[in-house]
């Protein structure tokens, strides 16, 4: 080893560090990493108490269920042993963190223009040809490199948008619509979803959507380079890589 080799800046040329995630995004991400898992797993235990879904205002054992769910095993539920009261205690306490986190994130992200700047797709990105191109690139597991990797691509924008602006708010609202006291406080809410059992079905479907999102999200993180991806969600700093062929 000699000094000259060490001083050579060669490896730095291939990568450049940029700030990709703001502090607010990072805090919310990791609060959610815990909260959403608790909500999903305690929710599956609550589902075990009556694993049938209905449409309309009423629905019980003698009524037609549009979906009969399986009994979720202990390794997927909180607590792992059957306890509806325990699952409710977790679910209804973490629901406050979940809902408060969502509201604060949405307000802050609109205020600092994170939504407008980073999450909203541009007109060009919404063109079918552009979306189709992104789908093909994803299917080939060819991810953006260089400058493009510092921004969200179209499929990311669309899936994050669907989760942040549709699934998560719907989970909070349908959750509230299931509460008997809320039916007295805001009767329009339960009616907006087509009745209490419809709200419960939509709640489950949105939870399933979030579960699917998490699976795909984790696969994408693993494929795109887990150390850099997870590191950037912790520190905010992301190492941009250029394609080998460009060097």
């Amino acid at each position: 080893m000699n000094r000259i080799e060490i001083d050579e800046p060669a490896p730095a040329e291939a990568s450049q560090v940029v700030v990709r995630h703001r502090l607010g995004t990072r805090i919310w991400h990791w609060v959610n990493a815990v909260t959403v898992f608790v909500m999903l797993m305690s929710g599956l235990m609550i589902s075990n108490a009556h694993p049938r879904l209905y449409w309309g205002n009423y629905g019980a054992n003698f009524d037609h269920a549009w979906l009969q769910l399986p009994r979720f095993p202990g390794w997927l539920t909180i607590p792992s042993y059957y306890s509806l009261s325990g699952a409710r205690r977790w679910h209804l306490a973490f629901a406050w963190l979940f809902a408060a986190g969502l509201v604060i994130f949405l307000l802050v992200s609109l205020w600092n223009r994170h939504v407008q700047r980073d999450l909203a797709p541009t007109r060009d990105e919404l063109r079918p040809r552009h979306i189709w191109h992104d789908i093909k690139e994803h299917a080939r597991l060819s991810f953006p490199t260089g400058e493009a990797a510092a921004r969200y691509n179209t499929l990311q924008k669309l899936s994050y948008g669907a989760v942040i602006f549709v699934l998560l708010p719907l989970l909070v609202l349908t959750g509230l619509a299931m509460a008997p006291a809320m039916s007295a406080a805001w009767p329009w809410l339960v009616e907006a979803f087509g009745g209490r059992q419809s709200a419960r079905s939509i709640h489950f479907l949105c939870a399933a959507g979030v579960g699917l999102f998490i699976i795909i999200h984790l696969i994408m993180v693993a494929l795109a380079g887990p150390v850099n991806e997870i590191g950037s969600m912790v520190t905010g700093r992301f190492r941009l890589r250029t394609e080998a062929g460009q060097q």
């Binding site: 019980a60 509806l84 205690r89 039916s183 406080a185 419960r200």
Partner: protein
């Protein structure tokens, strides 16, 4: 052979679940989670006016079959005797912090002015059923008994037993004086069937099913729930750690 990735995934999931179970058994952690019950109650009460009504439905919206839950037939000799007599000698005692303790025969109660409401019953398990109830507003009875200003809760003592434990429930005065809170003696235009709480049950429409005490024999006004049975305000609260406030 188990792959390393699989091993890590299974190990993580196992640790996560085991960790949550340990937390769930910790009384301190339960206490932290339970503090959200008070927060939920305060928040719901804040946005709900005192007399805001639970939705009432049309006859066409009713469940074809209103299922029962919990006790379907109280298993005491005393209840069997009352059932045999068609509840002719069933009385409802009203006592505790009242100026005029009452003992009301069920026939007398059925002759008082009543309220009819078609409402949705939401079970803690997740199902709902819509039924029609006829009953005397609880406020009427509490007025007749001259409730003391010291009273903070109304306790309902029931005739059914789970093992050797008596079923009971309790509500605070906001729900006790709510216009839809009735002592129901009929369901779907018939006298209350046994599985649904004959001859008298509570309807407290802004809370979940387990608050709707069935087979009511005694109504007691108290200042604190601490000295009543297990002290948590209800059978399910005492035995299975359900929340006393069941508005969610």
């Amino acid at each position: 052979m188990i792959s390393r990735r699989k091993f890590i995934a299974a190990g993580t999931s196992g640790l996560l679940v085991a960790g949550c179970d340990r937390l769930d058994r910790s009384e301190t952690f339960r206490g932290i989670l339970r503090s959200s019950e008070g927060l939920t109650m305060k928040a719901q009460r804040l946005i709900t006016s005192r007399d805001a009504l639970a939705p009432e439905y049309r006859a066409a919206d009713m469940s074809p079959i209103f299922r029962s839950n919990g006790t379907r037939l109280p298993n005491t000799n005393e209840y069997a005797r009352h059932l045999n007599e068609n509840f002719a000698n069933w009385r409802i005692n009203v006592d505790g912090l009242v100026a005029r303790p009452l003992s009301i025969p069920i026939q007398k109660l059925r002759s008082l002015p009543h309220r009819t409401q078609i409402t949705r019953h939401d079970c803690v398990e997740g199902w709902s059923a819509i039924g029609k109830w006829h009953g005397v507003p609880l406020a009427t009875i509490l007025g007749a008994a001259e409730l003391s200003t010291r009273a903070k809760y109304i306790v309902f003592h029931c005739a059914d037993r789970f093992g050797d434990r008596q079923y009971y429930e309790s509500i605070d005065l906001i729900d006790a004086f709510h216009p839809q809170t009735i002592l129901a003696w009929a369901m779907n235009d018939r006298l209350l069937p046994v599985p649904n709480g004959a001859p008298l049950r509570l309807r407290v429409e802004r809370q979940l099913g387990y608050k709707q005490a069935k087979y009511i024999q005694r109504i007691e006004a108290v200042e604190s729930l601490a000295g009543v049975y297990g002290g948590r305000g209800g059978y399910w609260e005492d035995t299975n750690d359900y929340e006393w406030y069941a508005g969610i």
